[in-house]
C-alpha cells in the first residue's frame, strides 16, 4: 500500500485503441489492480487490470486535454488514458512503476489472493495433477524404464523435478557422469513413453562437447535409451536449434553430439530460433497489429516481417518430425536445445499432444503443462517477467506453445475437448501471478516458496469453470479413430490468432459466435434430456409407459464427458468473478441490443478483465458508424479526395 500515491483520479478519459471514441470515468488504484469505472450511469463499463499484467507504462507529453498514460499489458490489452491533471498522472504513473515491478516473490498476488476456500479445498486443488500417476498411465515404470532417486534432493540437477525416469540399464555412475557432461546438469530423461511401440521421448540440455570432448557415460546413457527400445537399433537426436547456433556453442565448450562418438544415433537439426529472436518477433507483430487504420498490405508485410508465423510453423514442423519418428518408425528420440527448457519443452509437449489423445482433453492438457513445462523447469519467472528481472530473459515461449496448439485446434475441430478460451485463460494466468503453479523458475524454487502451502492452484480454478472451456464439437471417439494427429504444415494453413492478440479489441471479432451458440445448445440439450426423463418418470407413475427418450436422433457417442468431481464443483468463485458474472447478465449496451439477436450476445463468457467487455461498445465500421461521428468521417473522406 505504501507504493500507492493516489488511489483515485476522476474525469479520466479512456481512448479507444482503434477509433476516435473515448469514454470518461474514474481511475482507482488498489494494491493489486488498476480499475477504470466509466461514469456513464446506465452501462457503466469497468476495466480491471492486474498490476502483474502490466508490461509497460508510458507517460506521454502533456496535451491540451490532459496527460496521456499508455499501458501495455502482457495479455495483449492496451489502454490509453488521458488524465486531466499532470500531477495526478504522474502519481499514478510512478505508483504503477513500482507496483508492476515487484522485488520479491511474496509481493506477488498469489500470496494474497484469497478465493474464500478452506484449506482442505485448497490442498485438494494441488492434488488434482499427479505426475507419478501420469507416468503410470504411459506404462512407466516398466521392464525397460525405472524411477530413479538420484535427484531426490535436487543434488544432480536443481532445475529438474525430484522424480525422474531413466532406462533400467542406466546406472547411477552413468547418470552422474552424463549429467556432468550436460549444460546445467540436465541429463537425458524420459518425458513421454509411446507404449504401443515402446518408444521413448527423452529430453536433456546440450552436451558440453566443445570441439572434441567426449563423455563415455553420456554415450552410454544414449545407448541405454536406445537399448530400451526393441524396435530400432538407432535413436534420433533432435537438436531444436539452427545449426549455426549449435556450432557457435561449440566455441563455448558446449555444442551437439558427434555422430562418430555415439553409436547408432541419427542426428537432426530442426532450426527453431532462440528466445531473443522470439521476443523481438512478437514485439514486431504487436506493433503491426496495434497500428490504427492498418492497410491489408501493411498488415501482411508486417506479419511476414515479424516472422511470428514462421517460428510457429518451425515448432509444429519439429513436433511432427518427432511424432513421425516415434509413431511411424517406432524409434526413441532425444530432444534438446541449449539448456533444454524452452524449445525442448515446446517440441516435446507439442509432439506428445500429437501422439496422445489424452493430452487433448482438459485434464490431460493440464497434466502436459505440469509435466513438460512446470516440472522440467521452464523458467516461467524469467520468461514472464514475474519479478523485476533481466529484460533479456523475457520471451513468449509458452505463448508460442499455446498458439501452436491453437493452430492444431483449427485444423482438427473435433479432436480437442477444450476451446481456444481455455488456452487464452491459461495464458492469462501464466502472467497474472494469481495462482502458484507458474511462480518461480523450477520445482525446487516453488518448494522453497511453499506455493502449495501458501497459494492456490490454477488447475482447480479452471476445472471449476470447465463448462466455459469446452469445445462443443469435441468427439471423444476421435482419439480412438485418430490417435495420432497429422496436421498440414503448408504455410497457408497457419493463421493469425486474432482472438489471442486482439482479445480485448472487441470490434475486430465476429459479431456472433458459433462457439458460444453451440455451447449454449449443448447445455440446453442436457437440460432437455433431464426434463424429458423427469416427465417420463411422472408419466410412468401415472401408468403410461413411454419408451425411453424416443427421439429420432440420439446424442452421438460424442456425448460430453462427465462433469468434474464434487470437490471442484463446490468451489466458490472469487467475489470479483461473481460480481462479473452478475454483470454479464445485466450489462448489455444499447448498441449490443440493436446489433445482436438474443442469445448470441458475445463470444466469450469468461475472461480476466472486465465483464463489460462483453457488450459491444461500438459498431465496427472503420469508416465510422455511430450516428454522430459518421459525418465527421465523411468529411475526412471528402478532404482526402
Amino acid at each position: 500500500m505504501e507504493h500507492i500515491r493516489t488511489s483515485k483520479v476522476e474525469q479520466v478519459r479512456l481512448l479507444d485503441r482503434f477509433s476516435n471514441k473515448s469514454t470518461t470515468g474514474t481511475l482507482h488504484l488498489t494494491a493489486t489492480h488498476l480499475i477504470f469505472v466509466e461514469s456513464n450511469s446506465t452501462s457503466a463499463q469497468e476495466i480491471w487490470i492486474l498490476h502483474h499484467h502490466i508490461a509497460s507504462v508510458e507517460k506521454l507529453s502533456l496535451t491540451t486535454s490532459g496527460c496521456p498514460l499508455v499501458i501495455q499489458c502482457r495479455n495483449f490489452r492496451m489502454v490509453h488514458f488521458v488524465v486531466p491533471r499532470e500531477r495526478d498522472c504522474h502519481d499514478v504513473y510512478s505508483s504503477l512503476l513500482r507496483l508492476l515491478r515487484p522485488e520479491s516473490y511474496d509481493e506477488l498476488y498469489a500470496f494474497s489472493y484469497n478465493p474464500k476456500q478452506n484449506d482442505r479445498q485448497r490442498e485438494e486443488g494441488w492434488q488434482l495433477i499427479d505426475l507419478a500417476a501420469e507416468f503410470e498411465r504411459m506404462g512407466v515404470p516398466c521392464d525397460q524404464w525405472q524411477l530413479t532417486d538420484v535427484n531426490r534432493d535436487y543434488k544432480v540437477c536443481e532445475t529438474y523435478p525430484r522424480d525422474l525416469y531413466v532406462p533400467i540399464t542406466a546406472s547411477k555412475p552413468i547418470i552422474m557422469g552424463s549429467s556432468k557432461f550436460r549444460s546445467k546438469g540436465r541429463f537425458p530423461v524420459l518425458t513421454y513413453f509411446y507404449q504401443e511401440k515402446k518408444a521413448a521421448v527423452c529430453r536433456s540440455s546440450q552436451p558440453l562437447s566443445g570441439f572434441s570432448a567426449r563423455c563415455l557415460e553420456d554415450e552410454h546413457m544414449l545407448q541405454a535409451v536406445s537399448k530400451a527400445n526393441p524396435n530400432t537399433r538407432y535413436i534420433y537426436v533432435i537438436d531444436t536449434r539452427p545449426k549455426l547456433n549449435a556450432l557457435a556453442n561449440r566455441a563455448a565448450g558446449k555444442g551437439y553430439e558427434n555422430e562418430d562418438n555415439y553409436s547408432n544415433i541419427r542426428f537432426q537439426f530442426v532450426g527453431i530460433e532462440n528466445i531473443h529472436v522470439m521476443r523481438s518477433s512478437l514485439q514486431k507483430l504487436q506493433e503491426v497489429v496495434g497500428t490504427r487504420a492498418l492497410s491489408v498490405t501493411d498488415y501482411l508485410v508486417g506479419l511476414e516481417n515479424s516472422g511470428w508465423l514462421r517460428h510457429v510453423k518451425a515448432i509444429v514442423d519439429a513436433a511432427i518430425f518427432l511424432t513421425r519418428a516415434v509413431t511411424v518408425e517406432g524409434a526413441s528420440v532425444l530432444v534438446h536445445c541449449s539448456d533444454g527448457w524452452d524449445r525442448t519443452a515446446q517440441v516435446c509437449s507439442l509432439g506428445s499432444l500429437l501422439m496422445d489423445p489424452y493430452y487433448r482433453t482438459i485434464k490431460g492438457f493440464m497434466v502436459l503443462i505440469e509435466k513438460d513445462w512446470i516440472s522440467f523447469g521452464h523458467k516461467f519467472a524469467d520468461r514472464c517477467d514475474q519479478l523485476d528481472g533481466d529484460p533479456k530473459e523475457v520471451s513468449p515461449i509458452f505463448t508460442q506453445f499455446l498458439e501452436c496448439v491453437w493452430q492444431l485446434t483449427e485444423q482438427f475441430p473435433q479432436a480437442f475437448q477444450f476451446s481456444e478460451w481455455f488456452l487464452i485463460q491459461i495464458h492469462e494466468h501464466v502472467h497474472s501471478c494469481q495462482f502458484g503453479n507458474f511462480l518461480g523458475n523450477s520445482q525446487r524454487q516453488r518448494e522453497e516458496l511453499q506455493v502449495k502451502e501458501k497459494t492456490h492452484s490454477l488447475w482447480a480454478h479452471l476445472l471449476s469453470g470447465q463448462q466455459n472451456y469446452l469445445n462443443p464439437l469435441y468427439c471423444p471417439s476421435y482419439g480412438y479413430t485418430n490417435p495420432v494427429l497429422e496436421p498440414s504444415t503448408l504455410p497457408c494453413h497457419f493463421k493469425f490468432w486474432r482472438n489471442m492478440y486482439h482479445q480485448f479489441d472487441r470490434p475486430m471479432h465476429p459479431r456472433q459466435s458459433i462457439l458460444k451458440q453451440a455451447l449454449t445448445l449443448k447445455e440446453n440439450n442436457r437440460e432437455l434430456e433431464s426434463i424429458a426423463q423427469n416427465l417420463q418418470a411422472k408419466l410412468q407413475k401415472l401408468g403410461v409407459s413411454t419408451s425411453p427418450l424416443e427421439v429420432r436422433l440420439s446424442p452421438r457417442e460424442c456425448a460430453l464427458p462427465p462433469r468434474p468431481k464434487s470437490l471442484i464443483l463446490g468451489a466458490p468463485f472469487s467475489r470479483k468473478e461473481v460480481h462479473q458474472e452478475d454483470e454479464d447478465e445485466l450489462v448489455e449496451g444499447e448498441e449490443a441490443r440493436e446489433d445482436i439477436p438474443v442469445g448470441s450476445d458475445g463470444d466469450r463468457t469468461v475472461e480476466g478483465g472486465s465483464a463489460t467487455e462483453n457488450g459491444y461498445g461500438e459498431l465496427p465500421l472503420s469508416c465510422g458508424s455511430k450516428p454522430e461521428p459518421a459525418m465527421g468521417k465523411l468529411e475526412l473522406c471528402l478532404k482526402s479526395m
Binding site: V289, L294, S295, V296, T297, D298, L300, L303, E304, G307, R310, K313, P413, Q414, P472, C475, S488, L490, C492, F494, K495, F496, P507, M508, H509, P510, R511, Q512, I514, Q517, L521, K522, N524, N525, L528, L535, Q536, K538, L539, L542, V544, V551, R552, L553, S554, C558, E594, D595, P597, G599, S600, P620, L621, S622, C623, K626, P627, A630, L634, L638
Partner: protein, 545 residues
C-alpha cells in the same frame, strides 16, 4: 457444327486420374460434346464428369510413349490424367482445348441439358421486376415502373422495366440516358424501409473535357432528395481516375451543378487489375513451398484481400450514408456494371435482412447482377488459370461472393444460407448446365438467346427441397437489424472454401460441420419431445381431476 468433328479420339482405356487427397482411379476416358468422363472399369462407383466449359487451361507433358494432361478448372481444381499412347494424348488434349473454348454461346451445354428432375417452380419466373415493384408500391408512392427501355434501345444493358422517380417522365429519361455511360440513367437500386432513404445506381455522367451538363440528369436525381437534405454520390473510382475519364468523354458530377450532393471517391480497381489479382492469389495458394515468408509475401502481392477490404468498406460507407445519415445515395463507377454492382448489392446485404435469406439472396443476384447487366459471359469466360490476352475477364462476381462470405463469417447466425451456397454460385457463374448466368445482359438473355425458353434456370434446381437441404445454415436466426462488419485486415480472411478447397482435405472440417448440424437437430427433436410429454402429462392430470 458437329461436336464429333472436334473429337478426334472419343475413348481411351487405361487412363489414370490423379486428384488431390483422393485415391488414384484407373479407367476409361470418354469425350462427349460437353463432358470429359472418366469411369473406372472395376465398379461403376468412381466416375468423373467434367464439363468442358469448366476447363480453364490444359498442360501436356510427355514421358516416353505416354503422356500426361494437367487439367486446370475454372473452379480452381487441378487434376491430372495419365494417358497411354502419345497420339491418344495429343488427340485428347487438342479435343479438350477445342471443346472448352467454343465461341458460340448457343453451343453451350445449358442448351442441350435436359433436367432429370421435375421443374416445380420455374426459376425464370421467380424474380420478376413487376413483382418486386409491388412490394415497393406498398411502402412508397414516390417511384414508378418505366417501360422506356422495353425494346432495349435506350440502354442495352438495362432490363425492359426499371424503377425511376415518379415525377420523371420517359422523355426526360431519354435525355438523361444520353448523358450517362452506356445509357445507364440513374435507377432505383434499393429502398430502405426503415427511413425511406434510397440507393440509386447509374453509369458515369458524360461531362467530357468541357464539363457538359444535363439539367434533366440533375433534376432526376434531385427529385430523390428530401427537402433540405443532401445526398451522397459514391464514385467507385479514385479521384485521379475519374478526372482522366473526362478526357475520354466521361467524368463525374461537378459540385457546381450538383450543389445538393457530396461526392466521395473510393478506389475499387478495374477488371483487368482484379483478374491479375485472382491469378496471383491462386498461384500463391497452389504453391507447395513450405516457406512461410514466401506464402505471406505472395498473398500480399496478390492484393486480393486489399480489394476485398476496399469493396467492403465502400459498401459499408453506402449503407452508413443511408441508415445512419438518413441520406440518399447514388453509386456509379465508369460503366456502372461492375464495381457499382458490388457496392449496391453488398450494401443491401448489410441493410436489408431479406437479402440474407436464400430466396432474398437469389433475388438480389437476379436484380443487382443479372438484370442490372453485369456481363457474366465476358467476365467469367476465363478463370484463374487464364493466360494470354484477356477480353474483359474478371472475378467481379467472385469478389462479391467473397465479401458476402466475409460478412457471413462475422455474422454466422444472420444468414439463412451457408458457405456452400456461395461456392455453388461461384461454380455456376463459371461453368454450368443451367442458363442463369449465360449472356451479358437481360437483352441477350431474353431477346437473343431466349434462355427462359431454351434452358433451365439454376433457381429451378436449387430451390427444390432436397437440394436446398445442403445450403441451409443450421445456425440461422432471422435478424432484422442492420449489420456492420469489421473491415480491419485482422478481421478479413482468405476464403479457404474456394481458394484452398483443393489444397487440403476437408474431412475434419466437414465432420465438425455435421456435428454442429447434429447438435442443432437434436435440440429441435428434444424440444418437440419435451413438449409432447408435457402435453401428455397435462392431459392426464386434467383427466384425473
Amino acid at each position: 457444327m458437329e461436336f464429333a468433328e472436334l473429337i478426334k479420339t472419343p475413348r481411351v482405356d487405361g487412363v489414370v486420374l490423379h486428384r488431390p487427397f483422393l485415391p488414384l482411379v484407373e479407367g476409361t476416358l470418354c469425350l462427349t460434346g460437353h463432358h470429359l468422363i472418366l469411369s473406372s472399369r472395376q465398379d461403376n462407383t468412381e466416375e468423373l464428369w467434367l464439363l468442358h466449359a469448366d476447363i480453364d487451361f490444359i498442360e501436356k507433358r510427355f514421358v516416353g510413349s505416354s503422356g500426361t494432361i494437367i487439367v486446370k478448372c475454372k473452379d480452381l481444381r487441378i487434376i491430372q490424367l495419365d494417358i497411354p499412347g502419345m497420339e491418344e494424348c495429343l488427340n485428347i488434349a487438342s479435343s479438350i482445348e477445342a471443346l472448352s473454348t467454343l465461341d458460340s454461346v448457343s453451343l453451350m451445354y445449358p442448351f442441350f441439358y435436359r433436367p432429370m428432375f421435375e421443374v416445380i417452380e420455374d426459376g425464370w419466373n421467380l424474380f420478376l421486376p413487376e413483382e418486386s415493384f409491388k412490394d415497393l408500391e406498398s411502402m412508397t408512392d414516390e417511384w414508378r415502373l418505366s417501360e422506356v427501355n422495353r425494346d432495349f434501345s435506350i440502354c442495352p444493358s438495362y432490363p425492359p422495366l426499371v424503377v425511376v422517380p415518379k415525377d420523371t417522365d420517359d422523355d426526360t429519361l431519354l435525355k438523361v440516358a444520353s448523358f450517362r455511360h452506356g445509357g445507364r440513367f440513374p435507377v432505383l437500386s434499393y429502398y430502405h424501409k426503415k427511413n425511406g432513404m434510397v440507393m440509386m445506381r447509374a453509369g458515369q455522367p458524360l461531362i467530357g473535357p468541357n464539363g457538359r451538363r444535363c439539367k434533366e440528369d440533375e433534376k432526376l436525381i434531385n427529385a430523390t432528395l428530401r427537402a433540405g437534405k443532401r445526398g451522397y454520390i459514391i464514385d467507385t473510382r479514385a479521384t485521379a481516375v475519374a478526372q482522366q475519364a473526362k478526357a475520354r468523354g466521361g467524368g463525374f458530377e461537378q459540385e457546381a451543378n450538383y450543389p445538393q450532393w457530396r461526392r466521395i471517391h473510393k478506389t475499387i480497381e478495374r477488371y483487368s487489375v482484379l483478374q491479375d489479382s485472382l491469378i496471383k492469389l491462386v498461384e500463391a495458394c497452389n504453391d507447395q513451398s513450405h516457406s512461410m515468408d514466401r506464402w505471406l509475401s505472395k498473398l500480399e502481392a496478390s492484393n486480393w484481400l486489399s480489394h476485398i477490404k476496399e469493396i467492403l468498406t465502400t459498401a459499408c460507407l453506402a449503407a452508413q450514408c443511408i441508415d445512419r445519415e438518413g441520406a440518399t445515395v447514388l453509386v456509379h463507377g465508369t460503366e456502372g456494371t461492375d464495381s457499382t454492382l458490388q457496392v449496391t448489392s453488398l450494401a443491401q446485404i448489410l441493410l436489408d435482412p431479406s437479402c440474407r435469406t436464400i430466396r432474398g439472396f437469389q433475388a438480389l443476384v437476379e436484380r443487382e447482377w443479372l438484370q442490372a447487366g453485369h456481363p457474366f459471359q465476358h467476365r467469367c469466360a476465363q478463370s484463374a488459370y487464364s493466360s494470354g490476352k484477356l477480353h474483359g475477364e474478371a472475378p467481379i462476381f467472385l469478389l462479391f461472393l467473397d465479401c458476402t462470405w466475409q460478412i457471413l463469417r462475422q455474422f454466422p447466425c444472420s444468414f439463412e444460407f451457408n458457405e456452400n451456397f456461395l461456392v455453388l454460385l461461384f461454380e455456376h457463374a463459371y461453368a454450368t448446365q443451367f442458363g442463369t448466368f449465360l449472356g451479358n445482359s437481360a437483352a441477350e438473355r431474353s431477346a437473343t438467346l431466349k434462355l427462359p425458353q431454351k434452358t433451365v434456370s439454376l433457381w429451378s434446381w436449387v430451390n427444390r427441397p432436397q437440394e436446398m437441404e445442403g445450403f441451409v445454415n443450421p445456425l440461422y436466426e432471422p435478424n432484422s437489424l442492420v449489420i456492420w462488419p469489421s473491415v480491419a485486415p485482422q478481421s478479413l480472411q482468405l476464403w479457404e472454401g474456394v481458394f484452398l478447397r483443393w489444397n487440403r482435405s476437408s474431412k475434419c472440417l466437414d465432420e465438425a460441420y455435421e456435428e454442429m448440424v447434429h447438435i442443432i437437430e437434436y435440440n429441435k427433436e428434444l424440444q418437440k419431445k419435451v413438449n409432447s410429454l408435457r402435453r401428455q402429462l397435462a392431459q392426464l392430470e386434467t383427466e384425473e381431476i
